[in-house]
Symmetry: none
Subunit: 196 residues, 4 copies
DNA sequence: GATGAATGAGTATTCATTCAT
DNA sequence: TATGAATGAATACTCATTCAT
């Protein structure tokens, strides 16, 4: 019984190692330029094993998307917000954790943006995440500002997508955090103007 | 002499047909999933001819980027702006033409965003276009609003990248223009608040 | 353990079959006119398998050269020479085994001579074999004849290269062994005159 | 009429330029690795023109073999031999001009040896040349030495093929002429022993 | 569960050859 | 005579996938 469980655990670990290896590889090279050999090597297993755990290379893609979710940590950040603090302070904290989150899941983000352009399944998934991200912040802001729902949604969507693109094109290649701090500070200030 | 020119013209036309076919194919399937056979078929020529005009498949990518430029039409729109009209009106006109421009060059945009994630050459190119787009609108707005340069640049960057992402993820799949009109109207209104 | 070894043995056998098939094909058609498809077919495997065992078609060429060596059997013949017998007899025996050796490794010889003309790596290899062949016979003859080293080396080189060329151009297409016997007998007689 | 002739002359010149370019290219890369594009470029004409003068790439090979012959100059050398001089001197002169001849027609020789291994037409041609070369020297030597015909033929064949191979493998890559001079001197001395 | 040998369809690229101009 | 655009079959090599062990 114990051995059985042990074995199952080891199997699960191998499966996870494969998913993570696939994510890293897809992120680096893009889905179709990543070979199953690449992934197996990255995971430290032999070629054929992928097909013991997954039906196909594409199946690995779905497994990645099922395993990871971008928004958990952000929800937690919002839950722990200090209601005594100013909105400006809290939004700054929130966007900083958004950037942290993006950094931690850089591979996933990069892969999703790359694939979304010509893979409608990935795109729908990405759309869902964006919508949920908007709803998350909306749920927090709605009771705290006097802005019409429709306007608020668009404002949130715009600031967040702009930030994601800033991350993708600039921030992730930058060494220093000064630029990011300035960027967030300015963006928050401007966002507050919109919320007035 | 005339015959010579005629033949050369026809050759140039074929070359252009190949570039356009490649753009459409890359946009639809992504660069690495597009086969040279696909491209040749799309252009209505045989496989080998690609290599009469281009050194490699990647060479076709550069030829596309060399041929097309996103920002010409936007510059013209800004040049023709009515200085008597309100800023709100002019910005609305400008962003509408941005969307029109994105639609016209949809294939190019989609391809660039898809490739930029794991092709640093394409990414640098895309960065350049984004920067130039920001400078374009900045040159127009700087003398008309009282906002510190750094702030203005970030505001412009944010609104424009948000719009491009809205185009990529939503607008280009939508049938009706109502959503877009509303989106632009709201975004412009919020952008004006930032500029105050 | 045994099963593992069995499988590995089978794999090694396949690899060797590929090397031999490549040798036969290169010899028949020349390196660059031999297709990987030809080789795979000759080996009785599918196209792709070549690249499981070898990095490239050229890699197969090196594998051939690594596997085969022309001179082993000749060394053995020299070792077993009867010191009681006359030099003429022993040389005749030696040259006969040279021809036998050339016949046995006909494919390799033909391929090497064909490729050496425009592949400097192969040429260097062939030069090495020729030099070693000269040294082999020199080591045997030096203590047995009174000829200056330099002269002896040239005499050996000349007789042996002449024989190889006779093999390549004439002998390998001939049916009867009479011509060869006469050729060897005459050549040995003339070689002995040189050694006096 | 004159213009016609002029044009014909120019055409002949172009054809010859193509043959020479093909010889150089075949010699450098081997027949099948030489492309018609290579040859056209080397000749300074456009791709298609080859097929105005020749039926195929192989046709160019035959044109080369038809145009060039190795033995003319050697015949002349033999004709001009000084009958007062010693045999050793005359043979030395002869073999020196053999090497000069080989050098002058290096491209042709290299190409023929490379192709002969897997192209029986070329091989037959090469055999013919070797046989004629043997007969040439035999005609000169027969009345001057007392050796049985069969023996003399083999002696001549051996020394000459050995020299050709020495040229192919060593001499043509050497800078200094000292080695060659020594080689010829020694070989002649040994050859004279055979002729005794 | 894990290995890696084997498959075979697919892919970028090459190249001899043709032909309209 | 000369050009070079166009063809299309061929080729080295890749890679997702299967499967016997």
């Amino acid at each position: 019984m114990k051995m059985r469980t042990n074995r199952q655990l080891k199997a699960l670990e191998t499966k996870n190692r494969l998913i993570d290896a696939a994510l890293r590889t897809f992120s680096r090279k893009g889905f179709s330029q990543s070979t199953t050999k690449d992934i197996a090597k990255e995971a430290g297993v032999t070629d054929g094993l992928i097909y013991h755990y997954f039906q196909s290379k594409e199946d690995l893609l779905w497994a990645i998307l099922d395993k990871y979710t971008l928004l958990h940590s952000l929800q937690e950040v919002l839950n722990k917000m200090d209601n005594q603090a100013s909105l400006e302070h809290n939004l700054t904290v929130y966007f900083h954790s958004l950037f942290r989150s993006l950094h931690e899941q850089q591979d996933l983000i990069v892969m999703c943006f790359g694939e979304a352009q010509h893979n409608s399944d990935v795109r729908k998934r990405l759309e869902g995440v964006i919508r949920q991200g908007v709803e998350l912040l909306h749920a927090y802001l709605a009771p705290r500002v006097r802005v019409a729902t429709h306007d608020l949604l668009i404002a949130i969507r715009n600031i967040q997508t702009a930030m994601v693109l800033y991350f993708l094109m600039t921030d992730r290649f930058a060494d220093n955090e000064t630029d990011r701090n300035k960027y967030i500070e300015t963006s928050v200030r401007q966002f507050l103007k919109v919320l007035q």
